[in-house]
Symmetry: C3
């Protein structure tokens, strides 16, 4: 695994570049990621390019022996471009334009902007595509950041209509598939279909799902256009993109098919603060992050990546600026996060950023250097961990224990139709992940069409649409299976299957769901040390009620090697169910305290302690 850093030569006087590059190398960094926000410096006026500064920056960095990851600058189109095509701006769900003045101010469906994005990508690729130091390209930056995948613009509407015509062929097919007879929502032609926002009450969930798919496809095709250009002009280089945390706005399985390496941006403290953790967890892990945050994404994005190649393109090195509260990592955390990425198989950990920039939006976002150019606390940790990585060497392949099946449309469906507050497929996956990791298991988070052969245990937390390939692979699977609620509960067009949920998985689970209810905290069913929270499915079938709540509600059904979790898969209930399944799968489990996580590799077993008390990690040779 290599270490790198994100750098913005355009922010700093040219005479400090060489010194910066030298210090990077001295700190154990061998990759530098540049360029992704520099459009206004590369092309300050329409068609007038200024390459000199960038030529020199690349030269300086290359001369220092750094491999360069070069970003296309399409996340930040300059003002002159927006002024030339004002309708390239995205429109939010309320119909408000999302204008210039920060970043990501474009609509993925705007043909004019697509042409401009291709033009600037081509220009960059032509100039630096064959540069020996350019080892990797990054397309754009954080697709979807600031909720930018869905645009409710005229361009999006027109493109959506074409997309629908392509998918459904005839309007009658669409009307039938969506059940538009309900509430007289039938359309007479594709060009009469509106975007699903601004309806009086909620729109048809099939309409929303189609729009979510379309919006995701627009991201994928926008990205693919850049990839095609880069492959043409820069043969042999890797192409990557930096995904985000707890983000499902587009289908990362789809996007990753066009990339060589899937990167992601790891901000454990910001994510802890901004996402769905309890007040207690936010206090206990304020300066470490919840112990599953980083690893969950490592294992998720490894599963998305075409050949399992992934990296951390941005690693939090200190306090950030964008969460509600922004604490400093405990001393040692940057080192721990880096080693954990190694244990999970990263190719690269790139810290964000080199030197804190004293101006503009991210002036309070720490770097490896302070704004005054002196080392921030993380730099010493980087230097240390670089040596440790070298010493550890290749940790070796990780044996496959459990597969956790997740798909992006699952989360779209639970967002569109939660039915009960907090019933989210993403967080169901995270809860199941925690339950498995608390047993000390390796987890691979995989797409529904992934092969399952080598695992002892497969968990499908919440997968409303079950593709044929998964029915087949689960049918052939000989290990233990855990299925969660809503799995198999929807057709591809968001209708309930004629056979009732779990649809195609009914043979496997031995029954069907005849009633689903949701409830508030405290209105569920409880058992001995566990509780059925949020959701409950009633079952009909020839199955065994394995876990039963006081009063008779069944929490877990068992049929052969398959368990069905009837309550929402979280907390003590899912811990109990996966523990039973792991035991039946004869997996060697080692229940861990709440703050410890283990990763087993061929050459090393890693244990990461997220407690706030100081612990020294001794690599186990």
């Amino acid at each position: 695994m290599r270490l790198g850093v994100c750098y913005y030569p355009e922010h700093w006087p040219e005479d400090c570049w060489a010194q910066d590059a030298a210090l990077m190398r001295a700190s154990g960094l061998t990759r530098v990621r540049i360029g992704e926000f520099a459009w206004s410096r590369i092309e300050p006026e329409p068609r007038r390019f200024e390459w000199d500064w960038l030529d020199r920056a690349i030269a300086v960095l290359a001369d220092a022996g750094l491999g360069i990851i070069l970003g296309t600058p399409t996340a930040t189109p300059p003002k002159w471009l927006v002024d030339r095509m004002p309708d390239m701006i995205a429109v939010d769900r309320d119909g408000k334009p999302r204008g210039f003045g920060s970043r990501r101010h474009y609509c993925f469906s705007h043909a004019g902007y697509r042409a401009e994005a291709a033009r600037i990508t081509t220009a960059l690729a032509q100039r630096y595509g064959e540069h020996p130091a350019v080892v990797c390209w990054q397309t754009d930056n954080e697709y979807g950041c600031h909720d930018t995948v869905q645009s409710f613009s005229a361009a999006a509407r027109d493109a959506f209509r074409l997309w629908l015509a392509e998918r459904y062929g005839t309007i009658a097919t669409l009307n039938a598939a969506w059940g538009n007879v309900f509430w007289s929502m039938e359309y007479r032609a594709f060009d009469k279909i509106e975007l699903p926002n601004l309806t009086v009450t909620e729109g048809n969930p099939a309409h929303w799902l189609a729009f979510r798919r379309f919006s995701s496809d627009q991201v994928v095709s926008f990205n693919r256009a850049q990839v095609d250009i880069l492959r043409r002009h820069s043969p042999g280089r890797d192409i990557t993109h930096n995904a985000m945390g707890f983000y499902t706005g587009f289908d990362h399985h789809d996007l990753a098919q066009d990339l060589d390496v899937l990167g992601w941006d790891s901000y454990p403290l910001g994510f802890l603060e901004q996402f769905r953790f309890t007040a207690q967890e936010k206090r206990d892990f304020a300066r470490q992050g919840h112990p599953d945050i980083a690893a969950f994404h490592h294992d998720l994005y490894r599963g998305c990546a075409k050949d399992g190649r992934w990296s951390v393109l941005e690693q939090q090195p200190g306090p950030v600026n964008w969460a509600r509260h922004n604490p400093a990592p405990l001393s040692g955390m940057v080192r721990l996060w880096t080693l954990e990425a190694l244990a999970h198989g990263a190719e690269l950990v790139s810290y964000f950023r080199w030197r804190q920039f004293p101006m503009a939006q991210e002036q309070m976002h720490a770097g490896l250097l302070r704004t005054d150019g002196k080392p921030a606390p993380a730099l010493a940790e980087v230097r240390t961990v670089a040596d440790e990585i070298a010493e550890i060497g290749d940790p070796g392949a990780a044996p496959k224990h459990a597969a956790l099946v997740f798909s992006y449309p699952s989360e779209w469906i639970t967002q569109i139709q939660p039915q009960g507050e907090g019933c989210s497929a993403l967080w169901a996956a995270f809860s199941c992940y925690t339950a498995l990791r608390r047993l000390g298991l390796n987890v691979n988070i995989v797409a529904p069409d992934a092969p399952l052969d080598d695992y002892a245990l497969v968990v499908v937390p919440c997968l409303p649409i079950v593709p044929d390939s998964l029915s087949a692979s689960l049918g052939a699977f000989t290990g233990q299976i855990v299925i969660g609620p809503r799995t198999g509960s929807r057709s591809d067009d968001f209708s309930i299957p004629d056979t009732l949920p779990p649809g195609p998985l009914a043979p496997l689970v031995g029954g069907k769901v005849v009633l689903s209810e949701t409830f508030a905290q405290g209105a569920g069913y409880s058992g001995d040390g566990w509780e059925i929270t949020r959701w409950h499915d009633r079952f009909e079938g020839d199955v065994q009620a394995e876990i039963i709540a006081d009063g008779g509600a069944v929490a877990c059904w068992k049929s052969g090697r398959t368990r069905y979790c009837s309550g929402w898969p979280e907390g003590a209930l899912i811990q109990e169910i996966v523990s039973r399944a792991a035991r039946d799968a004869q997996l060697e489990c080692a229940p861990l305290p709440a703050h410890i996580r283990r990763r087993t590799c061929a050459e090393h077993i890693f244990e990461f302690d997220y407690a706030s008390a100081e612990v020294r990690i001794t690599p186990n040779n």
Copy 2:
């Protein structure tokens, strides 16, 4: 009382209609409600009608012996109509259009849409008006659902100006009545008056009250246009409409004057979850509903209905899809709710809906049948309760105990000017209703102009505008009276009376309110086991301080047969006051536990137990 069901033949293959109809009859149902969302199937293109399928559906249902309630489809105008007159769309308070894609996407003030609504109503009425199986018409569906009464469109603005000119005659009269001299808000002509939204800070409350009245009147006249057409073409049939729960967007007393039967849609679990109940009540009654939810509306809408004829047009039969959490009713609840409607005098309980539809917005809304056509749990209860109803027969008239006076403008006034958080006339009425029902009394919720002669006790929880008719009827009333805060506190145009509150009721209550204050929880005044919450009125007059808080704040004043509740009428305080008044009225009271309610009829006394433990109701012959 009859039982019925809501049915959508257009959702199902024609070959299952006869079987459905037969099973309805076999389940004890004799009414079927159809058609209210079928515009796109009746008129798939402008002026091209497709009657055949509906002819056949009606024939099949009629042949099975079902009486048909036929709905006009104006709640769901088809897309081609919206495309033809895009400005028929309502506009929300923020100025955003409320477009096609769900339902109720029209502005009540749009003349073009009114003409279209009349046209489709006429077409339906001409075709089926004399059909022998069509026993009742329903106009539109749930006027006001999804907050659709108020529209801030150009059409609404223009109609509002005409309405104001009609009401006030001259602009000087309006300016004087509204106090527009305040903040230089004077208008020089009716056509200069804007809608009251989008002001810098709150608009003139008189402006808002006028707009609320106008908006209500638009609903009433929209409905009346349909009623007139239906009476012309379908003589002898009842006309109804389905009102909602805890909904006050238009004046139901006004609307009901044009109807023969007032229906309402009873979803006790959804209402418990969505409305103002405590967390404890939401837990305790999660699968039953609060014991006053259904009965409150039964007694409210019976009092709105022209001749006291009312029905439940939609009865929840299982989990719904639209609340924050959607639990399943306890076994037996559908039966209990049905019997309670019987006890309160319903003509009909119609379950919503026959078969759960596996697509579109309400796919998670239970029916009597599951999506796979098998019986859902409620069907067996329906069959049982149908027999019980037959056995019980006519429960007989309910003796009049207490009248509770409520008017819709009261709630508009407390919404426009709460003065203290949570001070709502509707919820004051609900709290007083609970207090009376906890004593085992029958309650009639009546309009201010209703006759009061036959009652022993009258409660006026919060009635800012007191019409002369109420002053007169209360003056002549010989029973006990309880008056709550804000009563008589406003003129018809939202000004404080010269004589101070309670205005015309001052002689009755023996004094006047010289200061009103509101306060947060914990900042009120407390007595022995009760508390003055939210609001307190200070009094001047020759009255007796009957209930006094520690420190001297008076909670209840008494003058002759009238008590004035100086605190907000809720909780233990109002319970104590109505108990004293009921005792003085020599009403036979039977204080009931929190989960029991009683309804006394000439032939039967009903008791309904809303506890979550199972209890068998034995009809008492």
Copy 3:
């Protein structure tokens, strides 16, 4: 100190004016404030003036011996004016117009409205400028009320561009100053700059700060235009304006430079309810107000006023209408608030309003008279306190103990970039004020350029931009100094200084801040009886760690006579630090209970008890 009252003759029949005036005088009032909302009565149609009624009203009031404060009516332009220039309306941050129907419906940048405001001001000033009874003018009313300083209109955008061109000279200067290279936000011309709202994610903080400054400047120049007219036509009269509570939308130090007297509107109960007090404080002080609310603003606005001349232009006399809850003041509170204003040096306390108006928006806002013309409870207190004031006479000058430095841009900066929830410069100032007042000290809240010579102690709670004048005055200051976090942390254009915070104050504090973190409640560092909340700065330098938390975090650094508070300056921590500093400054401190405040004057020492139990204040001769 004089007493006065706000009066609206246009609201009342002419035949009650003389009686009102006589009762005012009999109640001890000698000033009457009128006219500020009367435009539609003064000029009912364009260019047609109706002066007669106002002539007569002024004559009646003058004849009674009342000095008149006459308001310009520009806060409430009449409808005909808005109809003539619809684009005079301000636009909110979401792009929505803020229309007619309440007040303050104008954009400060609209040239057409500025001309109209000058025209009506000139007309008034010409007619009454030399009237002997007109002793004072008030410009407009409560600039900024209802969040009206910032307008996102086309007029504002155009004016902002000119303002930027004026400030920065060249676009390159602006781009460099704002760091626009970040995210390619560079502009090629001033007329390409947009307003900072409606960006995809947060805009550049430098962009926002510029817009806040511009918006403030627009208020100041709008006001100055009126002042210039009034000075021309009404020589020798004072000019004032009424500021608000906890309001920082424009720079009051700037505005006050053009006024003779700075007024403010004191609503202790409404402010307690609406602003950042704990639930406990809101309960304990519900009917008194927090004991620092009124005094904080007295001391703040005295420091803003050009020659220290200030007044209370509106004093709450009973329940108001605009808070979430609106309790009545305890008996005696109006008297207490009035005496407290005297103790802090007010020239005038003017009660709002004379008689409660029974119509329109403020019908529930108490006056000295009730709507029926009878005395409200406050009137008797006014009569009493008028005699007491006469008896007390001039309280004499207040010795200078502590200066608290506050600037309006500080609060803009912490609003634009809080970095941690609740980190506000205004509330830091309020917390420090409380800490000083709990020691029994006199406090002057001063601008950064105020002279500091006469104080024993200076506290700078949070002043990101430190002007040279403050560096100089603090450098020369010989007393004790307390500096809070973020002080000196920003350049004038919102960038972090090269030398790190506290920038120019580094020599004074003996070190620099190398890392700042923020955290949620419970995630801070605690010591013995105190806690580091919200924020923590790590320090580098040759300084003494004076107060240290468990685990080693330093809460207070000391260098010579300067202390640096490393945590957010609030609660027990700042109380401890200012106590140490006051002791070192040899100030005679008298720690007071939470409900007592002291004000020391040359002739009297005042103590104000805000406990809810009744206490008799005996002036100490």
